[in-house]
Symmetry: D3
Subunit: 294 residues, 6 copies
């Protein structure tokens, strides 16, 4: 064991250095939460997830004996935002995201994914999408707001950032307008409900993901409310009956063959968290994702 | 999406109108908790469950594309009680319950179910019973108190309000006197332990419920402590090893064929809750129940 | 005593009726929090303050034996907003506020006061201002945002909504740019720091308020962070060394002679509250204000 | 220092022995809360106060260099109750209280004081009363319940257990019916509002207490809601503007000349407490009271 | 039902007597937490677990209709410790543990198990070990500290207190150095990961335990972080993806054939708990263990 | 206003740079808590205080229009420790502290002050001491441990690190052995009880401090439990009746004439904190101290 106990590790993600020039993967916080429609507070997510990540600095991932800190990982700090202005903030996020070749973003609410995908798709074209969430997030608007967090994939699909025929959603279970749900399916998106995950098994779900996404560049967008409120209470739009963390982790670790180009974990709202368990779940998802990289 | 965000919906259940004359289903709060034997505070359940229900006002139930708000649903407010007096309160609850043709009650502790059943059975005779709980609640008394929350089904059965041969209990797992347990079985009640649910599957449990209850009028009494303390900490007598919300929801949605005449969700004690997850579980159970109605 | 215990009072402010045509005073919630610069969540303030107000429904105000419920008071519910859009929301708030002759608004963040003052000043001209706060809120912008909650009185003064020579601020203590502070004084605003209140007495402070504001219409804007974080933790920008609730209440009750035309209590962020004490403080301030009316 | 750290002290009050025959003072828990009218949960007070008292086992009271543990103090455990039955519980409490020559009771809600006074007055006649509270507790009934916690001193005075001309109330500040307040004064009770304490000083208040109570046997009844919600959030009917603990302690320590015959601390509801501060305040009040004895 | 409600049961484990001479099983608290490497506070575990155990005093274990209170069970209170000194504390714990023929210890952090095993192995030789944990705890040191809580089984194995060929670990899932993991396997220890438990079933895991441990004396060491953070947040080194309490209970109840000689539950840190659910899980594990005894 | 909102400021104290070579003042965390005798967890203090300090990055101190960030301030991160070993940790802390010319330390428990004083006194001789605390901390040992947090000034005085005739303690109020208290006075230390502060005024107390300490180098050691538990619940040994933050701040700001050479704030235990108010109080004390420097 190293000589710095976990509680004294520097407050970057996994305690890695800030912005070294030689990094291959960057973690950045995006403390934006103007797109939330229910409980607020995802702006405080980045700090909480970084803090919780310190519990993971204690060895290798037993799934494959890798340690994400050895990948060439840096913490780029938090992105600048335009306070109180969604469109201007999205422009700023896109502009900053464009500077990183492989970015892991900690939200912030799900709206940020739109800006992150704009930056990435501009560089490499439409992306496959592995999307964990309780909600389909394909509403044309949210109570009138076209850039709310429930519209992120409606925008991403209609803007051509994501190829819906290479997109799969896992953990879906919220109330939803039938028209929205049907539109999503009609685009070619596959939807795996939380109940289906519970009644199936992680290896089977992973197979479905691999088949749906196939070859080509792909992105992972993980809304923490995919996880059950009992294990991830610290979020804005909780829905009962969610995935368990063991299932999410067991699915993720079987996705090593995909050509991931970036990811985000969003919607951690620490004011509603308990003993940091939501933040730890978010940090663990990132850690598992990074362990897939080589 | 509608133009009122969830956090501004009126504080009735699902934001429905208060007491319209044309309603077919009524939600009412019963803030009574004099029957609790361990942790107090279920009197604050109705407000918390109503508040949490606002998170569900965002579309249809994807199980069958129904929205409970379109059923003809009203919120009748809270029932009047006799402070500090169990018997007088039960009489008041019974009297008020008798005014509604189909009532969904939010407790309050489990004692209220006795009054609700008295009102209903007086009108339509003995009822079948689908009972989710960690406890059998068939004790002759509770530490000497014959009207405590652990005696509600002892009373309901001995008073002839419930037909025990059409009664099934799901989620049972607490310590219990063997004589109490054996008496329950001897009445004809079926007991499905929480472990049995975990080792079986929701469709199989639903089949067992349908077979046990059969045709004829039936009531759903859902003690929130049926759910595991990790997902429903806000209750008075938690027991480890409980049902998961996905299981409860998956069982409920398969009970559409039953002739339900009323329901309650009881034992939500918000002072012990976290980020409203217990209240959300309770609200979701009601929402699922209402989605079964047509 | 009435027969409805406090925990079963309808969830309007003090349990008063919703929107009766005959009211003289209206309480309304304004669940807007896009203007916050630190911790989020004031959108949940209105519900929490209404809930906490139920503890005050138990008699008269012993300061003058009045009961605000007898004034002709109604609860108008929550205002509609434009999700994610500050300017459009302010326009909506102004438009709705204009419909009420005497409005008591529950925020929401302090930005809402700008819209409320626009509506009121349009009708009756520039207002005197009694402003409780930890912050002067006279910054030209907030981290670039001209409509953030720290700029509300910069806007109100420069727009001519408030007469700065009839304005007094009480409880001020935060870090502040010297230029902002000096500009405020230069407009004629009087600043009473929290330390001055602690070293003086409520009657002396009340005298200062009466002298500063004088005759003419006046508005009360109460940012709950004027109160110390130990008594009001549930807010977004807490500052140590704040006023005690007894001081605020003792000052307020001595302001009966002023010609108040409206008020707001803002910045209650329930996710950071404890046992509802911040919400109770906010409800008590409103109750004290209403007790001044006749 | 002793060799047992505070966190391992036996879970009796101050770690004193359970029920030794030679004790002169007894602490007992009375976990009764059927008389509460707002938030429930005072039944859990005794355990919490005992736990918090462990922080006080670390030396003498610097006010007079006494250590209450050396007085001949025992912990008699909790009293038996009749679950769900106010009258029967009061009879049981009275009967058990009669067995102790000098009893310190930890509530439970304020209703228990009625039973405790019945036991004591039966033995030694009407008592003087030092009553700390936010509420006068002299209502003829509470929402219809004549034995609710807001009626305890109405009963005690009308039953002749307390001599109202030797009674003083400190910390009063809640809404109250004017008739109730005037009745109280008409009996001869002196009322010192919380604001008066804040604008005066503890020595002056102590002088008023000594003058009001005079010679003769006296009882201390301390409702923890006398203390401000910021310092004592864990209670059922909080009111802003309360006493500070330093004031209560400074008043109490100047009452050494009174002929105290018993005391209680009531209304600690731990489910609403934070970091045990309410329980610690209650334990400190008892500790200060015991330090007055010789 | 007995006449003492659960909330008034004496604060020993299950309310059993303190130290009767005739006991066959003893529960003792070991409030030691100097060996923790992440979040502190396990010193407060014993009191919290005792308190939570009161919820289990309400009948027999339905698994086999036994009630642990009838076994001859006593609560020996808390062990004395050497504050701030790991080695001296371990010596004191060993010395006190040696006085009991069958000891159930409530930690405290996992370091205490080393002392408990030293006392037991000295008497009866190397032990088989059933070890529930998220971590292997076989590190040679913890950030330089050879007696930290992550080294307890490295010490126990190298000191010959445990026979690693009769040792099985269940629930393992944390990051770990590959060398540490491989060393553990090389000693003959069997490791059942949390994912394996989720993908298998409790009866199958119980079979594996019975086969691994075989005949001969065996010890149960249950680190509460074996359980998922959603069900056991109150601990110092949480890891996502953990066991569910129903699984742990279902495995334990199938281990009746083993020759258990002692057990401990460790790492309950109540400051991070919620509504006592972690403490209740710990108490339930002990209660299940005791139910296996005859 | 700057363009980075407070919630996105880098997680160093006040967002200042990490370890620039040109700094004149350094903040460092010392996450050591092996010396605590009651509630654990001060190891998590440094991160929490740094986080809370972000709320202060919003302008100048209105007391003197200085901004501590312009002083030449750096954040040196956390000190290395010897896990589980008090003596070795103190040696490490002393060694690291010796590298900084003017150090502001964030604890950690009060034991760390001994090491910090050893480093400083070695360089500049015995120090005057301004000591805010609820406890005298001059016990020869703590439940047998000579290096516990209650012995720090017994050691500092007997080792000659502090000149007791230039030492003053403010806020004292805990139970204490008379011999310990008398020894402290006999050394020449002045003790200002919390009650004396409440009955006097901050300017008068500041005069007493200035007179006691006089010219010559002086150190500020601020135990956060000097502050009342209502304003600083997040600490290990709370005592009721404490100082208010306004008093502490008002005293500190009048000490500008003293020749301060270093300071610490200790005993912040975030697991017991609420809405970060304790951490904010600690950060504010440091910010006020730094504002005195020029």
């Amino acid at each position: 064991m190293a000589l710095t106990p976990t509680f004294a590790i520097p407050p970057s993600f996994l305690g890695v250095p800030l912005e070294p020039a030689t990094a291959r993967f960057w973690v950045a916080g995006v403390p934006f939460d103007l797109g939330t429609t229910n409980r607020a507070g995802a702006r405080a997510g980045p700090l909480a997830v970084r803090h919780a990540s310190r519990m993971l600095v204690d060895g290798d991932n037993p799934a494959n004996w890798r340690d994400p800190r050895t990948l060439g990982l840096a913490d780029a700090g938090d992105f600048a935002l335009a306070l109180g202005d969604i469109s201007a903030s999205l422009a700023l996020i896109e502009q900053q995201a464009a500077q990183f070749s492989h970015l892991v973003a900690i939200g912030g609410d799900h709206t940020i994914t739109l800006a992150l995908l704009r930056a990435l798709a501009k560089r490499i074209g439409p992306l496959g999408m592995v999307h964990f969430d309780a909600h389909v997030d394909t509403w044309p608007d949210n109570f009138g707001q076209p850039l709310g967090h429930g519209s992120v994939f409606y925008r991403a699909i209609t803007e051509g950032l994501v190829d819906p025929r290479r997109m799969i959603q896992i953990g879906i279970r919220s109330p939803v307008a039938r028209a929205v749900y049907d539109w999503t399916l009609a685009q070619g998106v596959q939807i795996v409900s939380a109940e289906e995950v519970h009644m199936s098994s992680p290896p089977a779900v992973a197979e479905r993901v691999l088949a749906a996404v196939g070859a080509g560049p792909v992105y992972l967008s993980f809304d923490i409310d995919a996880i059950d409120p009992g294990q991830a209470p610290g979020t804005g739009t909780p829905e009962v009956g969610g995935l368990f963390t063991w299932q999410a982790m067991a699915i993720l670790k079987r996705l090593g063959g995909l050509d991931f180009r970036g990811m985000d974990v969003v919607e951690v709202a620490p004011a509603y968290d308990v003993a940091e368990i939501t933040a730890l779940a978010a940090a663990s998802v990132i850690w598992q994702y990074l362990s897939l990289q080589s």
